[in-house]
């Protein structure tokens, strides 16, 4: 613990300051500064390769940052002295490709962290997991293997698997990009429900409809910095930054907005 600052609804809950990350000579994130309030849902948009995924992976400490800090509830996550495993249980992440464990049943996927990280007894963990699976509408598929589920169902299991850790913030990394068009809705509905339940969320997405209707704020990443941030209707409807304008123009031309 580096400090136990009180957090209220107005104070920043998740603070990203001066974040820099490069892979070799490629600088992906140059200088990212972004504050997320408690219960806020922030949509991260930007072209492919603009660093949306990298930013989320840095917050979850799956990547070691080159510079800058990430602070959650007054505690600096990027401090090398913190216990990364403890940090990660407080920061849930859901990936584009689901990444379920294929050799385990749906139920075992969801109970793995509670049992092996938190040491919860199997019976208790399974009861909690079934409750969570019920919430994502999949309690009846608890005994199935991931490859017996549709993409949308697999992604909902992945969300349940992250949620059983009771994270303070959830990161979604283009969670609908690998789904067939008719399956996108069921996952976005779930995200909207989570937001309504007060979850603090950072959602990297190409779904402009979702960003427009669910997000409290839209953040546009370009050239490794936050190029534009603001309410959805402003960023998507009346963008100021020329890079945002160009990006949205391309999306409109592709028939996606």
């Amino acid at each position: 613990m580096t400090g136990a600052a009180e957090t209220s609804g107005t104070e920043p809950f998740l603070q990203i300051a001066g974040l820099r990350k490069s892979y070799g000579a490629t600088v992906v994130l140059r200088d990212i500064t972004l504050d997320v309030r408690r219960h806020e849902c922030v949509a991260l948009i930007g072209a492919s390769g603009s660093g949306k995924s990298t930013l989320l992976r840095c917050i979850n400490l799956l990547e070691v940052v080159d510079d800058g800090t990430v602070t959650l509830e007054g505690r600096e996550l990027t401090d090398p002295r913190v216990d990364v495993d403890a940090v990660r249980t407080g920061v849930g992440i859901v990936f584009q490709a689901f990444n379920l464990f294929p050799h385990m049943s749906v139920l075992d996927n969801v109970t793995l962290a509670p049992r092996k990280v938190h040491g919860i007894r199997r019976s208790t963990a399974e009861r909690d997991a079934l409750e969570m699976l019920d919430r994502v509408g999949l309690a009846d598929r608890a005994r199935a293997k991931p490859d017996q589920l549709s993409g949308g169902q697999q992604q909902r299991v992945a969300i349940a698997r992250a949620l059983v850790n009771r994270p303070a913030v959830m990161l979604f990394d283009e969670v609908t990009s690998a789904l067939d068009p008719e399956l996108v809705g069921e996952v976005l509905d779930l995200l909207a429900e989570l937001k309504n339940d007060g979850m603090t969320m950072l959602v990297a997405t190409h779904e402009m409809g979702f960003a427009r209707m669910v997000a409290d704020r839209v953040v546009f990443l370009a050239d490794g910095v936050v190029a534009e941030a603001g309410p959805p209707e402003q960023v998507l409807g009346d963008p100021v930054d020329p890079r945002t304008q160009r990006f949205l123009r391309r999306i409109i031309d592709a028939g996606r907005l």
Partner: protein, 321 residues
Amino acid sequence: MTEVPPASWPGPDEPEGPPAIGAHRYAATGPDPVATVAIDDWTPSAVEVARRAYRRRRSVRSAVIAAVATVVLLAVVVLVLVNTPGWPKFRERFFDLSYGWEVLPDIAEGLWLNIRLAVVCEIGILIVALTVALARTLRGPVFFPIRAAAVAYTDLFRGLPLILVLLLLGFGMPSLKLEWLPTSALFWGCAALILTYGAYVSEVLRAGIESVHPSQRAAARSLGLSHGRTMQYVVVPQAVRRVMPPLLNDLVALIKDTGLISVLGVVYDAVLNAQIETAQTFNYTPYVVAGVLFVLITVPLTRLTDWVARRQGWTGGGGQV
């Protein structure tokens, strides 16, 4: 179902309002991949009937050709063999049925020792191999000595011929005259097999571990699992399933190589028993008997493992092509 959910979230410029957020609309769930189609009263069309008849004719034809070819080939081999000038002597020396039957119990008893040795060694090998493979996956400068030791071990014991390891340990260790060291040839024979095969099997396991996609590790670590727990519950179980065929390959090779312990002289396994018999009678039939017994052990083992792997759904891919 009163409400048909939208295929995707509408864009902001579309006229209809946002869907009721928070409403349960999981009717949008896609088709269930394992759902079965209700049985209807389908009968194959004329085209399908003709196709099936054609396929049946082709497979009958293939089977007949294969059977005839096999019989002809075998007949040729037997005829050539039987007509060689040395055949009568060869048959007497290598295929003396009554003598083979006579030595069978001795050799079978020896084989039982081979099997027990293989089981004990395999357990040791898997422990050594997994430890070494995991040591090689450790990252960071702190673990350099462990990684280096694991690499050195693999390089050394993959390079040394097994027979040399057997001789060096089997005769070398007892000659050190250390009281606390075991002197039994059986012990040092097993140690040599474990060390040599441990090096091979560790490479097989390492290949399996590295074949598990990094995203699996990322998913496990993101849930808060430590490196060790990630390996234990996520990576190694998937790795072992994938390398089952080469692991079995090494087990079969091990069963046969337990016979090499007989170079130490006092381990009465199938090979040594056959050798003793042959030395008394100058008839090689006992070797053939031992060979047949080894094959009889290893073939069912291969089939059993294939069957288990299929039943557990461990074998990937599949399908017709």
